[in-house]
Amino acid sequence: MKSIDRRTFLKATTLATAALSAPGTYGLAQVVQNRVPSTAASSGDPWIVDTNVNVLGWPFRHLKYGETGALVAKLKKHRVREAWAGTYEALFHKDIDGLNTRLVEECRRHGDGMLVPFGSVNLVWPTWEKRLQICHEVHRMPGVRIYPGYQPFDFDHPDFPRLLRAVAERNLILQISLQMEDPRVHHPVVQIGTRKSGLLLNLLREVPHAKIQLLHWGQDSTIRGRNFLPRLLAAANVFLDISNLEATEGLGRMFAGNHWEIEGKFPVERFLFGSLTPYFPLECAMLKLFESTLTREQMAAVMEGNAHRLRA
């Protein structure tokens, strides 16, 4: 593991230390905000591909970085060079073509190409195949994101195997968002229940080459359950984001096979950086990389290498 030597450390932290020592209210937030990570970085420092961001308005609250311009600035401040963006509109809207088009336009308008649109399809609205075709052939998206539960279908929906086959044939990434927020804080009008995640094992086994990424899966009791995740990863081409992977040193423990609550030892190649920003603080996923004692190679793989390979 490459560590930071004293000279590099001192150089990198001079500004921060000076600011922290200064009188008045110039605090850590300002220090962090004033940094330009790309100039402080060496050429070999990995960038970050954030595979789980969303744009266009969370339905239940004004989000601090909810405006796309502010979101992009925040991502850049933390050395995120590419962000796979879904849209909150996909949770409830019926006009799927409309929201996918708005998503594409929003991603074009902000970030100089760093936002990569991941549109959606909704299996319960008729003609979802056509929507998938448009995402792929018109918008040239590398994948689509679905939100079972908010979108009122579960994994036992009769069209779900067809969706899996379709994304596999088109070589699209299918992102499956297992949760958008802790059910304990749902607005009372939102009663989406629990997904039948256990079905994923047999369903995904049938499409072993489909590129599947589970998003915000960390609190799904079935997926966390006894020996489920090792079997799922063995059976299918499944990748995981880290947005709500909990436990102290959780990421390192997944690699070492000694997570307090999730059984199994998992290869670093299956983990992608994903933050659920702007709903979650971007710092949450960022700090997970530093909380565990990871090697530079492990960090780089999660930060960008694995995402590049999945998208290739």
Binding site: I4, T25, G27, F280
Partner: protein, 300 residues
């Protein structure tokens, strides 16, 4: 390998360095390294991350009593002796709070005598209604008065697991609360009777957008976010409602990631002074007295 070194520089990623975290003097007032176990392995492994992230002190919420299901507040275990040794061996790093049960005020007060007045602990904890609460009594019930009177006499801090848990049919904001669970409304009622006892409303009361208004009139009530999901903007919001002087910080390790809990505060637009208050100074301020009574001088 030095466990306190990072393979990449946090500065490059817009994050504080370990030295900057140390300088913030972080106190984790919600530590679970002793829960659901009967040995010290979980504690010492968790302390590795505590050290790595520059956290100055942890306050364990599970001292005294069996902390394995089915839970028992008043049955002391062999492991309690080990916890006591750890508290005495590391007085500058690990502190403790004991669980009480308002179903039995007398036994709770006896436990406070043993572990707080005559022991190393600095406060009491009300757990969720399903654990350590035989008769399902929330913290607002009159049974609590002798317990809180003793807390006042000892200068002990009072931590309450508080939740608005959405659920039920018809669905309500507290419809999924278990019998005996305390809500922020219970804390407000208790605080009104004991305005001079510091009480921490834990877990952001379940709903950080709703709970602050409930406790705002009670200046002795503090707000803590641990054990709830990190929501961008939440700390900014609560600082605006309650002020930075009324927030404490907890890590909830090892069941939660320290990254999760720290991110809530790093996300907020706070001055260095206010960030330090939230991450530790406020807790030091309300516990300096009881630490002093045990011969431990705290630099607030």
């Amino acid at each position: 390998m030095n466990l306190n070194e990072f393979a990449l520089s946090p500065t490059v990623y817009g994050l504080p360095t370990r030295d900057e975290l140390v300088e913030l003097r972080i106190w984790d007032c919600h530590y679970h390294g002793f829960v659901r176990t009967d040995n010290d392995r979980k504690h010492f492994e968790t302390m590795r991350a505590v050290e790595r992230l520059g956290i100055e002190r942890v306050i364990a919420l599970d001292i005294g009593g069996d902390t394995n299901p089915p839970w028992n507040t008043f049955i002391e275990t062999e492991f309690d002796r080990r916890k006591l040794e750890i508290l005495r061996q590391y007085p500058d790093k690990v502190s403790g709070v004991i669980r009480i049960d308002p179903s039995d005020p007398d036994a709770s007060c006896r436990k406070m005598e043993k572990w707080i007045r005559n022991g190393p602990c600095i406060g009491i904890k009300y757990t969720d209604g399903s654990m350590n609460n035989r008769d399902k009594i929330p913290c607002s019930h009159p049974n609590n008065d002798p317990i809180i009177r003793m807390a006042r006499e000892l200068g002990a801090v009072v931590y309450v697991c508080a939740w608005f848990l959405v659920g039920g049919s018809p669905c309500r904001v507290d419809g999924a609360n278990r019998p005996g669970s305390s809500t922020p409304l219970d804390i407000a009622r208790l605080a009104q009777r004991f305005p001079d006892v510091p009480i921490i409303c834990g877990h952001s009361g379940g709903e950080w957008e709703l709970a602050p208004d409930v406790i705002e009139p009670h200046r002795n009530v503090y707000f803590e976010f641990a054990g709830s999901d990190p929501h961008s903007g939440s700390v900014d919001y609560v600082v605006k409602k309650l002020g930075a002087d009324r927030i404490t910080w907890g890590g909830h390790g090892p069941s939660r990631s320290y990254a999760t809990e720290l991110s809530k505060v790093l996300d907020a637009d706070l001055s260095k002074t206010d960030r330090m208050k939230v991450l530790g100074r406020n807790y030091r301020r309300i516990t300096a007295g009881i630490f002093a009574s045990k011969g431990i001088k705290i630099d607030v």
